[in-house]
């Protein structure tokens, strides 16, 4: 570790594919939160995807190829942190499994696994950060993304941080821990089942009366936002980090105005 009182940990930001293409604002929110908490943040240009689409499709070779790339790119940082429970659970839990019988890559996978963190749990559990200087005007309901919740035990951390945000009222939805129906390629392979699931999720969101829904994974959020938009429900959708970083001032996912600069 290179932590010292004057210089916080050196963090490699894992820029997830969905964030990179669909929601750069989440990346900037992550950087702001990490820097505010004293980290030095770098975004290595050599990164692409964590390999989960290959892994979950049963193509373990492809997943290993991507995993090696991520390991090589990030192993020299103190931490690898990403705004996604899903990608980070892959790096934390699945990499060591993928290389379980590889004497060369297993130790490297394990080492990276130990310093792989989902953004919000990293902020709270490692850095002890708070959200006391953030402000958000609105009532917010939180969707527990499955990989974050069950893969990484993320449940209290985002709620604690959101609870500290000035002006924000947290309203719990029913079945917040039930899958929204995204599931990676599941949502396009089985659209009707996915529709039924996101319909249930959206019904629970609307029942809270909250004007905003937040969560920790862009896959789920795009699914939920897309469905809300399809039924013309005026609920804003943000990644939790956008709210915490004070960058949730736009219309949110699926309501975004085009880039102005």
């Amino acid at each position: 570790m290179t932590e010292s009182p004057t210089r916080g940990p050196r963090v490699g930001l894992f820029a997830t594919c969905l964030m990179n293409v669909f929601r750069p604002n989440v990346g900037f929110s992550a950087v702001k939160l990490l820097e505010d908490a004293g980290c030095t943040v770098e975004v290595p240009a050599n990164q692409t995807c964590c390999g989960q689409p290959g892994y979950n499709s049963g193509d373990y070779d492809a997943a290993r190829a991507l995993a090696r790339q991520v390991i090589e790119t990030f192993e020299n940082y103190d931490y690898i942190v990403g705004p996604s429970g899903s990608c980070m659970a892959t790096i934390r839990h699945d990499y060591p499994v993928l290389f379980h019988d590889d004497p060369v890559w297993l130790p490297r996978a394990q080492e990276l696994s130990e310093k792989a963190w989902e953004l919000l749990s990293f902020l709270t559990d490692v850095l002890g950060a708070t959200a006391s200087d953030a402000h958000y005007d609105g009532s917010v309901t939180y969707h527990d993304s499955c990989s974050g919740l069950r893969g990484l035990g993320i449940k209290g951390q985002p709620r604690t941080l959101l609870g500290e945000v000035d002006g924000l009222k947290l309203k719990e939805m029913e079945d917040s821990e039930v899958c929204c129906g995204f599931g990676g390629t599941f949502c396009v392979k089985y659209p009707e089942i996915s529709e039924k699931m996101v319909e249930d999720k959206v019904r629970n969101i609307l029942a809270t009366g909250a004007d905003t829904v937040v969560g920790g994974d862009l896959g789920c959020l795009m699914n939920i936002a897309g469905r809300l938009k399809r039924i013309n429900a005026p609920v804003k959708v943000f990644h939790t980090s956008e709210v915490l970083a004070g960058l949730a001032d736009g219309p949110g996912l699926a309501g975004a105005a085009k880039e102005s600069d």
Binding site: P24, D59, M222, N223, G226, R227, A254
Partner: protein, 468 residues
């Protein structure tokens, strides 16, 4: 039972649009999940019991041959008979032979998923026997000529109205609409069958090696009447259901009811050991156990061994959002939901059930409630891996994966394509989202696609910070 898992997609869509089914599923979902959560919360050692149960099962599976032999010896000593069936056909033949030998006309049945697995009812009926399911749910679906849609609540897909109609048609009017009246009517009809039965067939929740006993749990007491009133009692069970001692059985019994129906314990827990003894007031003259392998011993040696821990509680399907959306029949064979999506391809063949391991979001809720901690999502992913290795995965998907791998391992190319994609999607978007995207209709048929802002994060970042 004929496997129809290849029609999963069609059957799932049909189920989603079946209003009665959705009504029935919605009702069941709330009940099971809430009650289980309450039971788990009220028992401080619940999580510890899960861990103990997992370890005990692993120990049993590591020594399965030993415990099965001990079990057989104990059954024999108690005057019963153990029959070993390698597959469904052998199991059917063993049971048919017993039934024919005693000239059985009427066969009553307690709930047994193994008997569904081996297609027993059809075989018995084909040989001229009257087969009567005595579990209320099983009885209902027998009248409807349907397979079970849930392993512990076989008629969970039926609404009360549908049951009223079925009973009216089968028993003659007047049509009953109150649950209590419906139950009493079934009780009256079934009572007569119990006394007429020549053979009673039950499943076995647990087989106890120490005593040679079989244990069944029911809420209706139908299993007791089935097994004590007929002249012959046949237990059908998978080879993995053996436990070393009665003490071990109690560990699993504590978990079973809580996980299954959210009860502390089922109404009836019945232990049977051998046939009627001279001093017994009742009981069968013959006691048989048919131990069914049907693919299980193959699982024992491989990466799906964990699946053999399953105690058939149904918690995984109760908590599965996919099962909750489509119900059990969509899965197309005997075992639905997460456990069925693992078992069906293993027993009936990977290519006969392509969709089952894939129609899952890997959300992990099933594993989080499994009383014996089976890593169901990992096993489903492992099945996808086998499908991929055996080229069962659709050609288009394999091609897409190849392209994805090629591009994703070339960061510059990947980013260039991401940039093109982000610009394109941004350009065709209206009011922040895209309503129709021909190549992504799986997405846009049911929801809008939130639009990118234009440039990618990496582009913007490099512009701002110029970092490598």
């Amino acid at each position: 039972m004929e496997i129809r898992s290849k029609e999963f997609k069609e059957r799932a869509v049909f189920a989603i649009h079946d209003a009665s089914l959705q009504q029935a599923l919605g009702k069941a979902r709330g009940g099971f999940v809430g009650k289980r959560a309450q039971q788990a919360a009220e028992l401080p050692e619940f999580e510890q019991l899960r861990e103990e149960a997992k370890n005990t099962k692993n120990h049993i599976l590591d020594n399965l041959d030993h415990y099965l032999e001990r079990y057989e010896a104990a059954v024999t000593a108690a005057g019963g008979h153990v029959h070993w069936a390698r597959d469904a056909e052998e199991a059917r033949k063993i049971i048919l032979d017993i039934c024919k030998r005693v000239d059985a006309k009427t066969v009553t049945k307690g709930k047994s998923m193994v008997s569904e697995e081996i297609g027993l009812n059809e075989a018995l009926i084909e040989h001229g026997m009257e087969v009567v399911e005595t579990d209320l749910g099983e009885y209902i679906i027998q009248l409807a000529h349907e397979p079970p849609s849930h392993i512990i609540a076989p008629a969970v897909h039926k609404t009360k109205d549908q049951v009223s109609d079925l009973f009216e048609a089968a028993h003659g009017g007047p049509r009953k609409t109150e649950v209590a009246d419906l139950v009493n009517e079934a009780r009256r009809v079934l009572r007569d069958k119990y006394f007429r039965a020549d053979v009673g067939i039950t499943g076995g929740n647990f087989l106890v090696a120490e005593t040679g006993s079989s244990i069944i749990v029911t809420n209706e007491g139908n299993g007791d009447l089935t097994q004590t009133l007929a002249k012959v009692h046949i237990v059908t069970s998978g080879i993995e259901r053996v436990v070393p001692t009665l003490d071990d059985a109690t560990l699993f019994l504590r978990l079973l009811a809580r996980s299954a129906t959210g009860q502390e314990t089922e109404t009836y827990t019945t232990i049977s050991t051998g046939p009627r003894r001279a001093e017994d007031l009742d009981g069968p003259e013959e006691y048989h156990v048919v131990l069914v392998d049907n693919g299980r011993s193959k699982m024992l040696g491989g990466r799906f061994k964990d699946m053999l821990r399953c105690i058939r509680c149904g918690a995984c399907m109760n908590h599965c959002p996919v099962y909750g959306a489509v119900g059990g029949h969509a899965y197309g064979w005997v075992y639905p939901g997460p456990m069925g999506s693992v078992l069906t391809p293993l027993i009936k063949g990977l290519d006969n059930a392509y969709d089952l391991p894939n129609a899952c979001t890997l959300n992990g809720r099933c594993a989080s409630v499994c009383p014996v901690k089976i890593p169901l999502p990992d096993l489903l992913r492992e099945l996808r891996h086998m499908q991929h290795q055996q080229d069962i995965t659709p050609v288009m998907q394999r091609r897409a994966l190849k392209v994805w791998r090629y591009v994703a391992t070339r960061p510059k190319l990947y980013h260039a394509l991401e940039q093109v994609g982000a610009r394109f999607l941004s350009a065709i978007a209206k009011n922040g989202s895209i309503r129709r995207l021909p190549l992504a209709s799986g997405w846009t048929d049911v929801r809008d696609l939130p639009a990118p802002a234009g440039r990618t994060f990496l582009e913007l970042w490099q512009g701002k910070r110029g970092q490598k």
